[in-house]
Amino acid sequence: MIAPKHILGTFDELLAALRNNLLMMSGLTDRNLGQAMKGLLERNDSLCANAIADDEEIDQLEKQIDKDGVDILLRFQPVASDLRRVVSAMKLSSNLERMADQATSIARRARKLNRHPPLPEVELIKPMYEHAMSMFKDSMDSFVREDVDLGHAVVNRDEKLDDMNGNVGRKLIERMAQDPEQLRGYLNLVFIARALERVGDHATNIAEEAVYAAAAEDIRHQKLAIQV
């Protein structure tokens, strides 16, 4: 359902600008993660360099979104769904920025790996990448479409990514024992897997924010609350 426009047109314009910057940030983060992974899988240093260089733009967008968010809070004192959208946008931007940092980290390690003969174990990372990226895309979709069910579904998919990371880690440690010559390379792959696992964590955060923005429901840390 499309909400009617605000009486204050400027308020609508600023909310739209906030949302557009967020979507641009999400698009750039998606591109950076793609470039970093392609740089790894295709052993392409220039793609890695792009992912590292483009991180600056995402950092600037994070600052812009925070500035615009504070400006809206100050000037319009939003409430209800408007308030939730502004607060969520600011939290999303911080998660996107950290996701892009993971892209940079993957790209740096890929460049190191590219200096040595290829490791077939790189293929172990691929399914993790696909899973993390599908979580990321769906988390953003749940925010944009205010799809609460999709948000919940994304959160539930994080456990699988954690398991995948555990399995990849175990296999790589086995390989380290078998082939200590390649220890540095395997270690870089372990860190890349961990970066992707973090991407999944941020996607989870985004999905949780999406549920909050759409339904005012705080679904964070529910497992912890049950254990306590």
């Binding site: 009617p4 605000h6 009486i7 319009f76 209800a80 408007d82 308030l83 912890l224 609350a225 306590v228």
Partner: protein
């Protein structure tokens, strides 16, 4: 470990969160049931049912003409001062029907005081006389008692320190914000149970407004407060419960935090987010 462990949930502080206004709430000052009020042919409020919690601030919000002031005035029978009014439904104050034939409206207004939009100290009276006039009209003559009540009321209205040396000066010599606090002191002097406020800050500057807001927050420890306001940020700051009215009907009522973060009704959401009209 010898000391018992507290859970995280127990350690998290949750200040100022009012309980949901349901069966568990022990004290309700007003119980309003199916209240409708007409001014001549025009129905100003329609079938309103709402409970007002004791020692809490309830804010009534809504666009002009929605009936919020009429609802407020029905709580001390002030609306009857307008000719050709008619009322249906019941208003119980601590379980007593305010509109029962054996109830004196003057007694009701002593128990349920009111502060208006524009400060209205009596222009020919001094600051001191303004505060105790209600007691004098009720026959109190004991000077010591009057002086005690004068100081107590002015202290509760956070005005004592500013006027204690000028009690003989005219009430109208004070600033707008001070005059409004003088009117609050005048209301408190007769020791009501409830204070109704009809846009008490709308004629005041931000500093005077902040002082009144702070005062309202402090007064709720002793009084039940119902306020009408056009300022939604103010309603968000000072009230525990918020009622949204539109076209004479109560659209939504609930804890203020819920109304301002997650209103259940589309009309409430559109109004508080500035999409109405």
């Amino acid at each position: 470990m010898t000391t018992p462990e507290r859970t995280v949930a127990e350690r998290v502080e949750r200040p100022g969160e009012p309980p949901p206004l349901e069966e568990s709430v022990p004290a309700r000052t007003f119980e309003i049931k199916n209240l409708s009020i007409w001014y001549g042919e025009k129905r100003a409020i329609e079938n309103v049912t709402i409970d007002i919690a004791t020692n809490a601030v309830t804010a009534i919000i809504g666009p002009s003409g929605c009936g919020k002031s009429t609802l407020l005035r029905a709580l001390n029978r002030m609306h009857e001062l307008v000719p050709k009014t008619r009322l249906e439904g019941t208003v119980l104050l601590d379980g007593t029907d305010l509109y029962s034939s054996n109830i004196d409206p003057a007694i009701v207004r002593r128990r349920v005081g009111m502060v208006f939009q524009k400060s209205n100290p009596f222009p020919t009276m001094t600051i001191g006389e303004n505060v105790v006039i209600g007691l004098r009209l009720n026959g109190v003559r004991d000077r010591r008692f009057l002086n005690e009540r004068l100081e107590k009321s002015l202290r509760m209205a956070a005005l004592w320190d500013e006027v204690k040396d000028d009690l003989h000066k005219p009430g109208t010599s004070l600033s707008g914000g001070q005059q409004q606090r003088l009117c609050i002191a005048r209301t408190l002097a007769v020791e009501p149970e409830v204070v109704l406020m009809d846009e008490p800050c709308s004629a005041l500057d931000p500093i005077a407004t902040a002082k009144i807001e702070e005062l309202i927050y402090e007064l709720k420890a002793k009084y039940t407060i119902v306020t009408v306001t056009h300022n939604m940020q103010q309603a968000g700051r000072i009230s525990d419960y918020t009622a949204f009215m539109y076209l004479g009907r109560l659209i939504e009522f609930g804890p203020t935090t819920q109304i301002f973060t997650n209103p259940k009704d589309r009309q409430t959401e559109d109004y508080i987010t500035g999409r109405f009209g």
